[in-house]
């Protein structure tokens, strides 16, 4: 399960109850909307000749944010000093610090442990053979989840070996093995700090919001400047990307530790440290494990993007294949990432779920000798050590046991290309017709419409929505964020982003919500659907791009297809989840009152599920926005492209400004929808979940 751009909604102010009597309320707001809508339409239709500034932000109004950020970055890299050493010294030091364990893990998995650097290096110890790595992970799977998980993990790693992706996969795995513990540790520490000191939490929230909504591309450039090109800076980028959800989940899990358990800690006289490490963290562990899973999945999601700043491995393979449009090779490396993702996801989920049980019948241990006792008590550890020793010895004797023999490798490369070729030959006209129909009748008109809107009017309307849904603070902040997008000169590109995102979300909702409704009431179907959407969310976002490009070539339509495919999962999940949570007594009340199935669905269930569906939509929007930036690779013309161009030109200011604009769009959508959901919940008398 991964939901990269999860922005929580718990800190939203609820709608303030108004003092005005209900009667006045009923006529007041419709009137306001009517007047606002009228004014907006008038401005839109007739305003252009009168007030040109309302449509296009005048040059001298613009905030030179790009230049400011660029200058700041230059200062940071060239001049900033912390007394004894410069800021760059510090970042390079951190990079070296990350590099040491990375080299070690990489040595274990791929290059062998070396003495010295470069070509003069001597191999001290060969790397773990493919059999050893696969075997170790299978043992881990058996320990955490039994035989079935062991087989699944074995199959995934077998796939890597058989399809010739082993070496690249090990490079990727090495960087993940470094990024995940660091990300988890830092996230937990931040969470603990926020939990203990309220000001820290208050300061963390907006930072986390931005970290999760600014597209990764935007901060690749500064990282590149500060940490240099190579695997370490890729790991740093991955950690930054994966940190926010871990921090949030830590905060949440710590807050959910029951009050009585804290009181127990105080009553037994725990010191602060004992309270944290003996009471809070262990009790919050199941929640924290969900965070670990998230970090793993997000790290895998970053694999391809990280390869842009030198991560190497599978990500680089996909990226270079995508650049030369070698669909077959790209697809295979993409599948290898998926295999890695599935294996690690299921492993970490199994660890999260693994309930502790008491040791079975203690009597067994007695009688057996010391060795036998060790074997009984720690069968997995003993087996792992035996496996490593055995495979090392075997690897020295026989090469195929060390490296998977090339002669036995398979490739589906031509298969994928052939399939696509076949579809394109036989269905080209139909595909093309469908694409053009949608482009001409929906996409392009909608885009033109959005681009023609006066920015000042949109800002005002958004502010009004915020005011209505969540009070004046929300209204003001939403309007301010929207105005900032315009004043930094990003308005037209932002509108293209809104158009692509909007269309994709509508389509995802139109497909996803009905699927959710149908699946919610059929237990077996839901099980199947759940597996499918779990898998969909496990896949790195780039994977969606490839089949779309194969079938529709580059352009907005392709981007839209990829975004829809990537973002549909939460629409299905939240709808079905919400429907399944409706109080059965209410449904029974409906049945007793003689409601038909259709009436039950529309009058009771869907009404009560509305807040949940809204939250699903919110998640869909967040995923769509994060995917949109990636679709810049297939030639969209939105903020994502701006960020991507900035990346290729190493222009920090340009990238960050466009990236922040994306973040602002995400935050505006999130806050408005969350406030709307909270209002609906309050109206329905449901407690916020």
């Amino acid at each position: 399960m991964s939901a990269p751009a999860h922005v929580p909604i718990d800190d939203q102010p609820l709608a303030q109850p108004h003092g005005t009597p209900a009667g006045a309320q009923a006529t007041f707001w419709p009137a306001v909307w009517l007047i606002a809508g009228g004014a907006f339409t008038l401005l839109w239709l007739y305003g252009e000749p009168v007030a040109k500034w309302a449509f296009k932000v005048p040059r001298d109004w613009q905030i030179p944010a790009k230049r400011w950020i660029g200058d700041f970055m230059r200062w940071l890299v060239e001049d900033a000093s912390l007394g004894l050493f410069t800021f760059t010294d510090l970042t390079r030091f951190i990079a070296d610090l990350v590099d040491i364990p990375y080299r070690f893990v990489l040595g274990l998995l791929s290059t062998g442990l070396l003495d010295g650097r470069g070509s003069s290096a001597e191999e001290v110890l060969p790397p773990l053979s493919w059999i050893a790595v696969t075997g170790l992970l299978m043992l881990l799977g058996h320990y955490a989840g039994g035989r079935r998980l062991a087989l699944l993990v074995g199959a995934c790693f077998g796939f890597l070996a058989v399809f010739g992706q082993w070496d690249n996969a090990m490079i990727t795995l090495a960087s993940i093995l470094i990024a995940v513990p660091v990300g988890v540790g830092l996230g937990l520490l931040l969470g603990l700090a926020g939990h203990r000191w309220h000001p820290v939490e208050a300061a963390l929230r907006p930072v986390l919001d931005l970290m999760q909504t600014v597209p990764v591309f935007a901060y690749l450039v500064p990282i590149l400047f500060l940490f240099g090109f190579g695997p370490t800076s890729a790991i740093v980028a991955t950690i930054i990307y994966a940190l926010p959800p871990m921090t949030r989940i830590s905060l949440l899990a710590l807050r959910q530790v029951p009050k009585e358990v804290r009181e127990l800690g105080r009553m037994t006289g725990c010191s602060r440290r004992q309270m944290t490490w003996r009471i809070l963290v262990p009790t919050a562990m199941p929640g924290l494990m969900v965070g670990v899973n998230q970090v793993i999945m997000l790290s895998l999601n970053m694999v391809i993007i990280a390869s842009m700043i030198g991560a190497g491995g599978l990500g680089f393979e996909v990226l270079s294949a995508l650049r030369r449009l070698d669909i077959g090779a790209g697809f295979e490396a993409g599948l290898a990432i998926v295999a890695l993702a599935i294996a690690l996801d299921r492993l970490s989920q199994a660890f999260a779920r693994k309930g502790r049980r008491h040791a079975q019948s203690a009597g067994h241990e007695q009688g057996a000798g010391l060795g036998g006792g060790l074997w009984r008590r720690h069968p997995h550890t003993v087996a792992a050590i035996a496996l490593v020793i055995f495979s090392l010895a075997a690897g020295l004797l026989s090469a195929p046991l060390q490296r998977y023999p090339e002669a036995l490798q398979l490739s589906s490369g031509t298969l994928g290309s052939d399939l696509v070729g076949w579809i394109n030959v036989n269905f080209f006209d139909q595909l093309e017709a469908a694409k053009n129909l949608l482009l001409l009748n929906v996409l392009i008109p909608f885009k033109r419409f959005l681009l023609s809107l006066p920015w000042i009017g949109v800002v005002a309307l958004l502010g009004l929505c915020g005011l209505r849904l969540g009070g004046w603070r929300l209204g003001l902040s939403v309007a301010l964020l929207a105005a900032l997008i315009a004043l930094t000169g990003q308005w037209p590109k932002a509108m293209v982003t809104v158009y692509l995102c909007g269309i994709s979300v509508v389509i995802a909702a139109l497909i996803g919500i009905p699927i959710g409704i149908v699946a919610a009431e059929r237990e077996r179907l839901w099980k199947g659907v759940e597996i499918v959407i779990d898998t969909l969310q496990t896949l790195p976002s780039f994977v969606y791009l490839m089949p779309a490009v194969m079938l529709f070539r580059v352009g907005d339509f392709t981007a839209m297809i990829a975004v829809v495919a990537y973002a549909i999962a939460p629409a299905i999940r939240y709808t079905a989840h919400g429907l399944r949570q409706v109080d059965p007594q209410l449904v029974e009340a409906g049945v007793v009152a003689g409601a038909t199935r259709w009436q039950l669905l529309t009058r009771i269930k869907l009404k009560l599920t509305l807040p949940e569906i809204l939250l699903g939509l919110n998640q869909t929007i967040m995923l769509a926005l994060s995917m949109l930036v990636i679709t810049a690779l297939v030639g969209t013309r939105d903020l994502g492209q701006e960020v991507y161009i900035a990346l290729t030109k190493a222009d920090t200011g340009r990238g960050l400004v466009a990236g922040l604009a994306v973040a602002f769009i995400a935050i505006i959508a999130d806050r408005l929808i969350a406030a709307g959901a909270a209002r609906t919940r309050a109206r329905l008398g449901l407690t916020p979940s």
């Binding site: 009585e260 105080r266 009553m267 037994t268 009471i279 008491h358 203690a362």
Partner: protein, 352 residues
């Protein structure tokens, strides 16, 4: 049939824990609220100041070895009061004296010291640590103190044995039933041999049958341990069953303090009377309250059936089944104190 105000068989025991005009107010202006004005405890005055009075001017004393039950409905402030006693909640004002030492004047270090060695607490929802075994949970308070592994595990095993969970030391909490989990909670709270034992609605989360069983278990434990106990409950029957004395709370104030018998026979107001209405008097009124003085020489051994002075009348009733007209009431050492007549017993039984 006059109600006795003092417990005849209980020697005057020293006060272990004393609570002097303890207040806990919630709200922004709590520190500045004048507590000494005459109407300070009135709900109206508090509401005007924007405060909630969770505990208002509570005075009580718990004697050594006594089971002191604080009974009240939800929102009456009983949980807040018990948390004030252990300083889990910081009282707004007042004094809490444990063996004469004012806890509210103790610094953080001293408080940790007191909690580690002098107090134990049982929680409503057990508050077991999910990652530790039964043994680990029970040994936890000792582990926090830094007691060596062997010593703390020995002690923990003894406690587990005491609450009847022997053989389940290596189980994890989620593998146990609710009643068993609370036994673990009880064993854990006893591991440090506390002088003062707080039980915060320990049996409320259990099924009625298990609750009854646990109450019996609790009575058995107390007969062995003789701890000073503050027991919180919202269940009046439970209070009657277990208490030496009961304090009834309403809206943060203590309405009445007394033995079960006193509450039933002389409720202070309608609120207390409401609780006692359903209680069978025969189960509360003790033989000593109903007897007439012993006519013969006190040194003479009693003949015929006897009943303990502290036993409720309901326990004496079956003795009359054989047609006796009188039953002798004896004290703890077997000396006759008085005579229980058939007519008096029937009178109490008939009135329900």
């Amino acid at each position: 049939m006059s109600p006795h105000s003092a417990h005849p068989c209980a020697p005057a025991r020293p006060v272990k824990l004393e609570c002097r005009s303890v207040w806990k107010l919630f709200g922004a202006g709590a520190p500045h609220y004048a507590l000494d004005r005459p109407d300070a405890a009135d709900s109206a005055a508090l509401a005007e100041a924007g405060l909630v009075g969770a505990v208002r001017d509570v005075n009580l004393g718990v004697a050594e070895g006594e089971i002191f039950v604080i009974m009240g409905l939800s929102g009456s402030g009983k949980s807040t009061l018990v948390r004030c006693l252990s300083r889990l909640v910081e009282p707004t004002s007042g004094q809490i004296l444990l063996n004469g030492e004012n806890l509210l004047a103790a610094n953080a270090r001293r408080m940790i010291e007191i909690r580690r060695h002098h107090m134990g607490m049982v929680f409503q929802h057990f508050a077991l640590l999910p990652h530790l075994t039964v043994l680990g949970n029970v040994a936890f308070p000792l582990e926090v103190q830094g007691v060596a592994r062997a010593a703390r595990e020995d002690r923990a095993r003894a406690m587990i044995e005491l609450v009847g969970l022997g053989g389940r030391e290596m189980f994890f909490p989620r593998e146990l039933s609710g009643g068993q989990q609370q036994r673990v909670g009880i064993a854990r709270s006893l591991a440090v041999e506390p002088e003062l034992w707080f039980l915060d609605e320990p049996f409320s989360a259990l099924d009625p049958l298990i609750r009854r069983e646990m109450q019996d278990e609790f009575i058995r434990l107390q007969s062995v341990l003789k701890k000073t106990i503050v027991f919180i409950t919202h269940d009046f029957d439970e209070a009657i069953r277990l208490a030496d004395r009961i304090a009834i709370m309403k809206d943060g104030k203590v309405v009445q303090i007394g033995t079960p018998e006193e509450l039933v026979l002389a409720p202070a107001d309608d609120y207390v009377a409401e609780f006692t209405r359903g209680v069978s008097r025969a189960k509360v009124v003790r033989a000593v309250s109903l007897m007439v003085p012993y006519p013969g020489e006190a040194e003479e051994a009693a003949s015929g059936p006897t009943v303990a002075a502290n036993a409720p009348v309901a326990e004496a009733a079956p003795l009359f089944a054989a047609g006796q007209a009188e039953v002798t009431v004896i004290d703890g050492s077997g000396q006759p104190l008085g005579i229980l007549t058939r007519a008096a017993v029937v009178d109490v039984m008939m009135r329900g």
